[in-house]
């Protein structure tokens, strides 16, 4: 009962924060919707990165810090190879590279460390992060590169008759959203309908039982890391097409951490919804809350989106430790 009460309080507070700018008249409905949509678009990218986390965490219990580095590596590969060949060939080749990477990681890092403490594995993926960051930039270079998906960048006006001035929306953002949605549907089909997908789910449920009925764990890990690599590739291409491929992509991984806390470590829908919540919350906070804070505390500029996601995740941890869609079990002390 108390638990529910806390959740209701948190929910009401969040909703109040969300609609406050509208109610208090701090922004016009059109601008508000634009910020909301912008947040959703950013959220899609967070979701994509978080999706990679969740896939690996479900199947192997490894918290993969290297997901951001994988996104950067995949994006760099596509961007540089697209200079030499058509884009589709570059993407196909990059998929091959990510699969090869999964093999190497499984063989060199995971297999020797099997049965170690989760924190040890987390640190091992930190090592992989450093290696991949250096490796990617050594072979592909460290400038800013472009991925041209052939989608026009100029914004389109929609709903002009509903709000005055309409809403500006970027076509590539829409494409990103569609790509993310497609990817999630494909993954869902893969998990529900194919034999390998079922094996993956079995491993996620109980890897000892899965092993005892003859599911090869090592191969499952390769598959799941490959999948995470492909998800990283999609995230990298979408992100790279929007903002250019550069080192800062690798830092997105840090933003995906609160997303998985929010959504639950083991839930794919959780990663999606969590990403959207973080994306919207962050944008809203930056646009509407930051100016208020700057005025109130005499700050040297806003930038609260750097930590807002973490505070939001912490609030959720206090009320709903397993996340929105996660399994109920949690390490409690």
């Amino acid at each position: 009962m108390r638990k529910n009460f806390n959740m209701i309080v948190l929910g009401v507070a969040l909703m109040a924060g969300l609609i406050a700018p509208l109610v208090t008249g701090a922004s016009s409905a059109g601008f508000y919707t634009e910020v909301l949509l912008g947040g959703l678009m950013a959220g899609v990218l967070y979701s994509l990165v978080a999706l990679g986390f969740v896939l690996i965490f479900k199947a192997s219990g490894v918290f993969n810090f290297a997901q951001g580095a994988m996104v950067l590596f995949a994006a760099l590969s596509v961007a540089r190879m697209a200079e030499m060949m058509p884009l589709w060939a570059a993407i196909l080749l990059a998929v091959g590279i990510m699969v090869a990477l999964a093999f190497v990681v499984e063989r060199v890092v995971l297999r020797p460390l099997v049965n170690q403490d989760p924190v040890v594995l987390l640190m091992a993926t930190l090592g992989v992060t450093y290696f991949l960051d250096g490796f990617g930039q050594t072979i592909w270079g460290s400038d800013i590169y472009e991925i041209n998906l052939g989608i026009a960048k100029e914004p389109v006006m929609i709903l002009g008759n509903l709000f005055e001035g309409g809403i500006l929306i970027n076509k590539d953002d829409v494409a990103a959203t569609v790509a993310a949605a497609l990817l999630v549907i494909l993954l869902a089909l893969f998990f529900q309908k194919t034999k390998t997908g079922r094996a993956l789910r079995a491993v996620a449920d109980d890897h000892l039982a899965a092993q005892s009925i003859g599911i090869p764990l090592n191969r499952i890990w390769v598959i799941v890391w490959s999948l995470a690599g492909v998800v990283a590739l999609v995230a990298g291409v979408v992100w790279g097409a929007k903002l250019g491929v550069q080192f800062s992509i690798s830092q997105v991984a840090l933003k995906a951490l609160p997303v998985v806390i929010l959504g639950g470590f083991t839930s794919i829908p959780g990663a999606i919804v969590g990403g959207l919540i973080i994306g919207v919350g962050e944008k809203m906070a930056e646009v509407f809350l930051a100016p208020v804070m700057v005025k109130a505390f005499d700050l040297a500029g806003g930038g609260i989106e750097n930590w807002f996601a973490y505070v939001l995740a912490l609030l959720f941890l206090l009320v709903l430790p397993q996340g929105l869609f996660g399994e109920k079990h949690i390490d409690r002390v």
């Binding site: 918290f63 992989v128 250096g134 930590w307 995740a313």
Partner: protein, 354 residues
């Protein structure tokens, strides 16, 4: 043959509880201290002090602090540079606003302020652990980064947000030359290392280790989790805060808002992984490794006669870093300190294998 403890009998509890129970260890430690206090200032160049020994000493203090929390109490933190920055800015503001305070007092106060902030961010550890706690500590990292970059009061309204410090004055003794900085740091680090060594074998340290090994069992045998965890966070943040103040005042002199960013946090974590978790000695090994490796890698192309761009060197450095971390986790999860212990054990038995 030299390293034998035969004939060294312990005839009192006092002797049994000595920090270095073997005579040869005591002689070695004595010679080492003699060397670093008396010999080193005459031998090494200013460059060596400034680029290796001074950062090494400060970072080993910080790594020691982190090791108390992660290695001894088993609470993961990937945001410990946050507490370094708290220490550094606290010291800056104390010197600025209370100029009559001696720097030693400032150092202690800065550590205490960092400890308070550490306690605050340690509170989530009472309910969560492992990966969840990692995220909570990351929140500390980003929140302090933002606070010190944006809240003007902390940087005394400096337009660029960067702060600079005056020379430290200890009762008329100015800590200005590299050798003096080195000696000052050495004294501080020796003191804190001895303190830490004794702390971890006291009841507090034992409570931490019990929490690390199994929290439920620890609670059953009468260790209060709240007390054990919060003291670990507090003491650890105190150490790291002092290290942060020293990093700002002695090593950097002046620093930008993001001098204590997540990279520094991760480096601290690497130091204790490579050096050895749950080992005071390991913190020193790890800090030396992390400080010396980039310098070595920067110089290596020159030595072997290959011409490489700086960007290339930094990429290679990060690759080698990453590989070494994985290598150490696989081959020797207990780090360099464990190798040292194995070496000592072998030496005791030499020339026999067992």
């Amino acid at each position: 043959m030299l390293y034998r403890e035969n004939g060294q009998f312990k005839t009192s509890y006092r002797q049994d509880q000595q920090m270095l129970p073997i005579l040869q260890d005591r002689i070695f430690m004595g010679l080492l201290l003699l060397f670093v206090y008396v010999g080193a200032p005459f031998i090494f160049s200013d460059y060596f002090f400034l680029s290796i020994l001074i950062p090494f000493l400060i970072l080993s203090l910080a790594a020691l602090g982190l090791n108390l929390l992660v290695g001894y109490c088993g609470q993961i933190s990937i945001g410990h540079a946050a507490f370094m920055s708290v220490g550094a800015y606290a010291a800056y503001n104390l010197v600025l606003r209370l100029p009559q305070l001696n720097f030693l007092v400032v150092l202690i106060l800065a550590g205490l302020i960092a400890a308070l902030v550490g306690l605050l961010f340690g509170i989530p550890s009472l309910r969560i652990r492992g990966l969840y706690l990692a995220v909570a500590t990351l929140a500390a990292q980003f929140f302090t980064d933002w606070t010190f970059a944006r809240v003007k009061w902390f940087t005394n309204y400096a337009p660029s947000g960067s702060v600079s410090t005056a020379t430290i004055d200890l009762f008329g003794w100015h800590v200005d030359s590299p050798v003096r900085k080195y000696l000052f740091l050495l004294a501080v680090v020796t003191l804190f290392a001895v303190l830490a060594k004794n702390l971890v074998r006291s009841h507090i340290g034992r409570a931490w280790m019990a929490m690390r090994d199994m929290d439920v069992a620890a609670e059953v045998i009468g260790i209060r989790p709240v007390y054990a965890k919060l003291t670990a966070f507090g003491v650890s943040s105190f150490y790291v805060g002092v290290a942060g103040a020293l990093w700002g005042f002695v090593h950097l002199g002046s620093w930008e808002p993001l001098a204590f960013n997540i990279t520094l946090s991760l480096n601290l974590l690497f130091m204790i992984i490579i050096g050895g978790m749950g080992s005071v000695l390991g913190s020193f090994f790890g800090a030396f490794f992390i400080v010396a490796l980039p310098i070595l890698l920067n110089r290596a192309p020159e030595w072997i006669g290959v011409d490489m761009s700086t960007a290339m060197v930094s990429h290679l450095e990060s690759m080698i870093f990453g590989s070494l971390i994985v290598f150490f986790l696989i081959v020797e999860p207990q780090g360099l300190a464990r190798l040292w212990a194995i070496g000592k054990e072998k030496l005791r038995l030499w020339p026999f294998p067992h």
